[in-house]
Symmetry: C2
Subunit: 665 residues, 2 copies
């Protein structure tokens, strides 16, 4: 076999980061974040290497280029910033820089007192060749500089000094020959999301219970009346369970009773009835126009509306009649309902993603998203995505984000870790996760460390929910009001994105359907509820206070710099977040025990705050408004769940001392 | 964009191991080893998955297939064995197995007492479709079985029991529909090397010093006289520095003197003279026929000859006249000699791997290997490969191994780690490494752990050399005879492949050219040497004994199961090797202090040996022939460097007790 002449490219580029599965999947960033790219770059021999990071927003046709810098052990680095939603691509180019090599060697030889007349001639050749690449406006200056040190009549020392001029050296380096450059064969993709993909407080409610007394069916207009309260509490996203017509066949009754009683409202996830399917609104909730109006009203108080997209049908869904080919048939010709043997879900028909007619199905499902995007929705909470094919998600989210890069898709997949990560790789912007079941210090530390300090951070963004309509964790069942406060502070400070299902959450609703279960008793999934929002046990004031703290402190807008600290009492969990420049630093300490006062001494990792081991610093508890002067890593903390089971300290590194006093003021 | 119909394949395959850089480079194995392949395999929903490992020797046209087994956390595994040199490819196929899913669900439903008449009809459809794929000889049996349980007149319980028959279940599973299988898009390559690539004791000598009195020039015929001694010592490979004509221009004198004196023999690495270049033999050494004869004689005593390939030229090399286009020119038209400014190597002309005529150069260099392969050489020690382009190595080794899969290429690259690893990825079979400079316990442990317990093991095989003609490490300069014994035992037991440069090594030659340098005084690289092989300080007996132990103990033929153990004396380094089936287990303890007796207590990791914490076991020191009965991890060891600074224990797990006594014998 003949060698490929391109193989004369001597530079090797390897192990590029960040990357997901070697570049098979995109990494994720939001506006304002940077992509810090590293790679191993090396070549044979001792010649000097130069490398460039190439990147472009995919709406642009040309690449931007920034020089990479060597930092250690053949590893090079360069960064670029995300300033537009959409997607970016990046790759790396590297080459032997014969001009830089020549400069380095010329300097060494001249220092050793060697005759370098031939080397100066070699340099002349290199610069002359670079001149051909240089833009017109630079050519004159470089040529004049070259002529100065090319004159063999001048003393060699003078010529060398001129030739080593750093200004012209940099100019020539920029235009030196790259014809044998190695370009990494893969272009890595970065999904550029809006900030909301990284940071936001979510609130879920059932519209039909809004302003309900348990009998009256609430509507989207009733939801409008909740907006001021939600805005005052500081929520950014209001997420509604499915708002579509609900099927009547096999409708479930209260507490998931297989036999519905007359008047039972059914589960919103049994989608589709005679009034329509995924593009229709349940008549008692209102109309598509009401959705649009709610979106506008919410926007006025800085709240975004998120819809639930559950790709499944009730037996009454129009698709069942019009597109029977999208469902599996049983041998008797009926449509196969959902089942997890021996359990049967006869009110739900799943789509058949292996159907030979899958093309039409996929296009239709995409059009469901398009329909709601058209009506002002940008955020979708996707129900059980792990029961639909991964290739479908990769295709549909790819298509939608290409046309609507501001959209956000929250994956509601409570399943095995690799499946959840697989959905994130396939394109989901955010994901539900195991937070509801991570309660102890070691559990929370291990869980959040995997999400924030491993490669998982590049593609998987957790949204922390202490409860959902399906999940009332045991910690909340037995922890009382303090338990809700604890789980709330954990969710809202561990997670830049978090959410609660309310008003059940702020009202500390803790009754399970049966002991050991996580289903709510008299769950709102199957009936209308009347909520007393002014009940005394409500933790609304804490929620409002914490959301205000979140907004005011940039450290809490990202999970990137989450760090755990030790304490001498395992019931006290301490962790911090900070901005990269340390302009905002927050330390959170939570008493994980909802029943007992816990006291203990911290063992802070002060390096995390840029504080010396003997420095004095201020810790201002933003919840209690107490100010502390602390010195060193060990500080006593006591938290009483009956009052406030957590502290959120704003850490100020600099404390005024006598040295700051301006005697001449 | 229309969805791709192939995307109906619902199974995801990810994170396949073993792989080097995601499959960009081959992994390496030797005959008799296995490739254990793992992957994350999952799909949406709860359907059953089946997966196959596909593999083939690249001389075969069809794939072999072996079922993968789920073991944990969505991870699956299967293996295949390497039984022929050359290369193998493997990849993975996985699919939703609707038949297995049906069986699982049928069983669950029947157990729950549900009516499964429709399920039995679904099963009939699945089996009927599988029948089309089944081979003729199986079809009758499956059909008869199907007919038995398809009869609706039979009691349902009986039909279910028949339908769940495991024998026919397995047959049908094998022929079930795979039309929507996911096949991983990449085929991974395994280089299949001869055993010698993994295991061997190497000996390097300068032929011109053989039987020399320091004046007489030795020859390849003289090397033949050394073969019985080397075979008796137990060496597998005899490696000769370059045997080609040596240039006269700028020839180096003794001790690297830039001015050679009349009669100075020059460095064998200054290749090429009027008598020829890389395909010629230095006349005083003999002829190409003598090489062939030496290979034959060596083979008769189970020794393989390795040649040194140094791709560089003396100014007198025929290439310089005939192919000036393969070298860089200076501005005055002369050829650029090697330099590392301010140092100049005027006796060496490097090839220009960026030359526009590189094609011809590459073909010629390949032909050098082909020439010596034609004359019986299969092992090449390649000099300074890190000063020649990586693409060249990937091409030339790839081409050569395709035609001659039994060849072995040892990379002599003492350079930065990623460059050394890069050469291994490009194709080198084995590599020199940092062993000469790893002397303390923590250094050796860290060094060997990186090579044997990280992904490096998949592509990089170390060959451990305590000395080379270029490297007389300080440990040997100051450690006396015990120092040589220590470094020898470490090399020969830590490394399945190791080598020494002799007779300097066994004669404990320890004089550096200057203090702090690692060059030998009066180095054989520049002069003829007279060696007294019978000198009393020779450690030849230890070498012979250790090589015999290596041959007799399979545990020492691989680095795969190297494990370090703790001792309470940091001067005592303890480590073990074992076969995968534990049929051979060796524990080595080395006193790293060449000057003092050291005693201490081991803290053995007995799990490594499959021994319980309170079990008694036998440790037989194969060096001293002492037998010990040990119990538990803590055992006292004392090693005196004046006698024997190391112990090599054969660990026998089972010790006879009264329970083994057969009273009826």
């Amino acid at each position: 076999m003949k060698p490929n002449p391109l193989q004369r490219s001597r530079v090797v580029i390897e192990t590029i980061t960040p990357a997901v599965d070697g570049g098979r999947y995109a990494i994720k960033r939001t506006i304002g974040e940077i992509v810090s790219v590293e790679a191993d770059i090396f070549a044979d021999g001792h010649d000097m290497i130069a490398a460039s990071l190439l990147y472009r927003h995919n709406a642009d046709t040309s690449w931007r280029e920034t020089p990479m810098k060597f930092f250690d052990n053949d590893r090079w680095q360069a960064s670029f910033s995300i300033d537009r939603v959409g997607s970016y691509s990046f790759t790396i180019k590297a080459w032997i820089d014969h001009f830089l090599t020549w400069r380095r060697d010329l300097e060494k030889k001249a220092k050793a007192g060697q005759d370098v007349s031939l080397d100066l001639r070699s340099g002349h050749e290199l610069v002359t060749s670079a001149l051909e690449q240089a833009p017109d406006e630079e050519r004159g200056g470089i040529k004049a500089w070259l002529d100065k040190w090319s004159d063999p009549a001048k003393p060699q020392a003078e010529r060398v000094a001129l030739a080593l001029d750093s200004f012209f050296g940099e100019r020539v380096h920029l235009h030196s020959d790259r014809s044998l450059a190695t370009r990494y064969p893969h272009e890595f993709v970065v999904i550029a999301d809006p900030v909301r993909a990284r940071y936001g407080a979510w609130y879920e409610l059932f519209p039909r219970s809004c302003n309900s007394d348990g009998k009256r069916h609430g509507s989207l207009k009733d939801v409008e009346t909740q907006l001021p309260r939600l805005a005052d509490m500081g929520f950014d996203v209001l997420y509604l369970p499915p708002i579509h017509p609900i099927g009547e066949a096999f409708r479930k009754g209260r507490n998931n009773n297989p036999e519905a009683q007359p008047g039972d409202v059914g589960s919103p996830w049994a989608i589709g009835g005679k009034e329509g399917g995924h593009k229709a609104v349940h008549p008692e909730l209102g109309s598509v126009d009401d959705v649009r109006r709610l979106v506008e009203k919410a926007k006025a108080v800085n709240i975004e509306i998120a819809l639930d997209i559950a790709f499944q049908c009730s037996p009454d869904h129009p698709y069942v009649r019009e597109h029977a080919e999208w469902f599996k048939k049983r041998p008797d010709g009926t449509i196969q309902y959902a089942e997890n043997p021996p359990k049967k879900y006869q009110d739900i028909y799943p789509f058949d993603f292996e159907s030979p007619e899958a093309d039409g199905l996929w296009q239709e499902l995409r059009s469901v998203f398009e329909f709601w995007i058209h009506h002002g929705i940008n955020i979708f909470r996707v129900d059980n995505p792990h029961t639909k094919g991964f290739p479908f998600w990769e295709w549909v989210i790819g298509e939608l984000k290409r046309a609507h890069p501001e959209t956000i898709f929250l994956s509601e997949a409570f399943t095995r870790p690799k499946v959840m990560y697989g959905l994130a790789k396939a394109g989901f912007t955010q994901s539900y996760n195991y937070f509801p079941w991570r309660n102890t210090g070691p559990e929370l530390r291990q869980f959040m460390t995997e999400l924030t300090r491993t490669n998982v951070r590049e593609f998987y963004r957790p949204n922390l929910w202490p409860n959902t309509p399906d999940i009332l964790p045991q910690f909340l069942q037995y922890g009382g009001r303090a338990g809700f406060m604890i789980r709330f502070v954990l969710a809202a400070t561990l997670g830049a994105s978090y959410g609660i299902y309310g008003p059940a959450f702020e009202l500390c609703e803790d009754r399970p359907r049966a002991p050991g279960e996580e289903e709510y008793l008299d769950s709102e999934k199957y009936e209308l509820k009347s909520w007393n929002l002014n009940a005394p046990q409500s933790i609304e004031p804490l929620i409002k206070q914490v959301n205000a703290i979140r907004r005011a402190n940039l450290a809490l807008h990202s999970n990137d710099l989450l760090a755990f600290h030790s304490t001498e009492n395992e019931q006290l969990l301490a962790y911090s977040k900070r901005t990269a420049d340390r302009s905002n630093q927050i330390l959170i300490v939570v008493n994980l025990d909802p029943h007992h006062r816990q006291a203990g001494v911290t063992e802070l990792n002060l390096e995390e705050f840029g504080i010396g081991p003997k420095d004095t610093f201020q810790a201002h508890d933003l919840l209690s408004n107490a100010h502390y002067l602390w010195r060193g890593p060990r500080n006593s903390i006591e938290l009483d769940p009956k009052q406030l089971p957590a502290a959120i300290y704003h850490i100020r590194r600099h404390v005024r001392t006598e040295n700051d006093f301006d005697y001449f003021m």
